[in-house]
Symmetry: C2
């Protein structure tokens, strides 16, 4: 009882603090906007920090910044890159990023690591990753915001992407670990979805969640070097056959499978050429714009749904009631339909 | 203006009517429950009609019936059967159903046809379907409830399934046309998901939506007869290779591919034997019960989410505001995140 009381006061103080606390070093919205549009990396980073911030004053500031840069956003190709740990994602992105820079592109790399949501320590934060790429003026690397919810992370990554576009980055790579749910979110905010795989995997394959494979516009068998080349070529054929049996995506694009060795810088150009081919096709058939519009609107609806859920789950007594209802459902004491009706009544009465 | 006024009055009268209208021929809840448990098909049909009814008095009655039969439900194997029109679904189900009856089973066939939601006339309502099966005492065939929403249809089909189980049906087949969204709903209420395909399809394949294939526990290449046999065997190998490359489902089951000719009654036993093998495996590894529990609980959450959405979308002015916001989003006038916040504010103020 004492403890609860203490907790309550503590939370209240914390809430008041975060509501009123306004960091001293913040600029005016217009200063951020101008800095971003000029391509000032320091200002860009500071603006992203504001987007990631949970302070009320920062949330307002973030909204103003986003609103102003919005017309300058959208001019990039957005690529989702995923694959299980061990597939060589960092090495691939380093090689791919360097290739893009050679083509005269500016590239931003944003990473979403859902595991960091829990552990608060991210494997993607590893300083030794992408050493060469990290030193390039034309590359901007930013690990994910650790948010409380996947929806929160997706919002922040999505808005960060818009800022990067306004700052003139032509290619945005959004990197995830292909084991969680963030892939669907990333697929919903990118133009092209790239899946990295290994040859002769079997066991490794099981790390990839169902449903990720079918989102892929391209599968790259990485580490196709040395003794691995034959196996990789076989894997390529297998994946090609497999993917061609599956229904075409709405884009009309047939997924491409290729091999690469990021460490030897082989096959990297093929990946970029494939992206360009895809872009040309979907520009011509109108899917590119259609998909972007759909994604933007879907983004709003995702947020609406998320907000509705929060209203519900934050409503008084709902959590305990749900636990009880789940138990009653499993023991056939109440039907799921009736259980839902009961709890919705409780929710309605809470207004 | 006149028209709107008239419409309003009309709707009001209709609403009042349906609220108070109570059909004369209804029995007491206990009479339905006893009839169902005795396996009385007439009572079962009448109870399903009540479940499908939108009358307020029937909704209450339905709830009472469900609540009472709940402990008697669950003792069946629930099989989802899907495939595009032309794949020979009716013929397959007829042959499969007859085979099950020969094995001493009682089988209920429920059909969900999303197209009937719009046209109000269902292709699945065709009287010539499943003529032999329809005449068996051990078979019960019921086309879907046409509901206003997919969630509504899923509820009604789910509850109909519970009644059929209480009436002693050992195998429940839930049939859908593999082109829409109802497959996910059906996958969420069945133990085993069966996908019917054709050999040498190519074009036909495109009728199957992405994501349906990966739900399949078994793919049956139907119409493997006559000139089609060689092609069907080739297709079988192709699907086998394709499906084995994809990650295993949580059940640990590796999808089985087989050929069948429903019209010649060939390969039908293989399908049922595969279902039995699956059942044995998931009984042993605990997935069967775990999945059933998860499905039941998920059913409640689906209803909660649906109810929350209805609260939101039925709230005043929301629809018009959404249309305006969608337009502003596409023209980069507002960010999706801010748009969602705005409309949620409108919603909150409506209480």
């Amino acid at each position: 009882m004492y403890f609860l009381h203490y907790q309550y006061i503590y939370n209240l103080i914390f809430k008041l603090k975060t509501m009123n606390y306004k960091p001293k070093n913040r600029l005016e919205p217009q200063e951020y906007v101008e800095g971003i549009i000029k391509g000032d990396r320091v200002i860009l980073s500071r603006a992203i920090t504001i987007i990631e911030s949970n302070l009320e004053s920062d949330k307002l500031l973030a909204k103003n910044i986003i609103q102003s840069i919005l017309p300058k956003s959208g001019n990039s190709i957005r690529i989702g890159v995923t694959g299980v740990p061990g597939v060589g994602k960092s090495t691939f992105i380093e090689a791919f990023g360097m290739h893009l820079i050679e083509q005269g592109k500016k590239v931003a790399i944003l990473s979403i690591d859902p595991s960091s949501q829990r552990s608060k320590g991210s494997i993607l934060g590893d300083k030794t990753r992408m050493e060469t790429l990290g030193q390039q003026e034309e590359a901007y690397i930013r690990p994910s915001a650790s948010g409380d919810t996947l929806g929160g992370v997706a919002n922040k990554t999505g808005e960060t992407m818009l800022l990067c576009e306004a700052a003139g980055y032509d290619v945005i790579l959004i990197e995830t670990v292909g084991v969680g749910q963030s892939e669907t979110a990333v697929h919903g905010m990118t133009d092209f979805f790239l899946l990295l795989m290994l040859a002769g995997a079997g066991d490794e394959l099981q790390g990839i969640k169902k449903g990720i494979m079918e989102m892929a516009d391209m599968v790259v068998i990485n580490k196709a070097d040395g003794d691995n080349i034959t196996m990789s070529k076989m894997a390529k054929t297998q994946y090609q056959n497999a993917l061609h049996i599956f229904p075409l995506a709405e884009s009309g694009w047939s997924p491409v499978v290729s091999t690469a060795s990021a460490i030897k810088n082989e096959g990297i150009d093929t990946v970029w050429n494939t992206v360009l081919e895809y872009k040309q096709m979907v520009d011509e058939n109108g899917y590119f714009e259609k998909n972007r519009n759909t994604q933007q609107i879907q983004w709003m609806y995702n947020n609406i749904n998320e907000a509705l859920k929060q209203l519900f789950y934050n409503s008084e007594n709902i959590s305990e009631k749900l636990v009880a209802l789940e138990k009653d459902i499993v023991t056939s004491k109440i039907s799921p339909v009736k259980a839902a009706e009961n709890i919705i009544e409780v929710f309605k009465r809470s207004f």
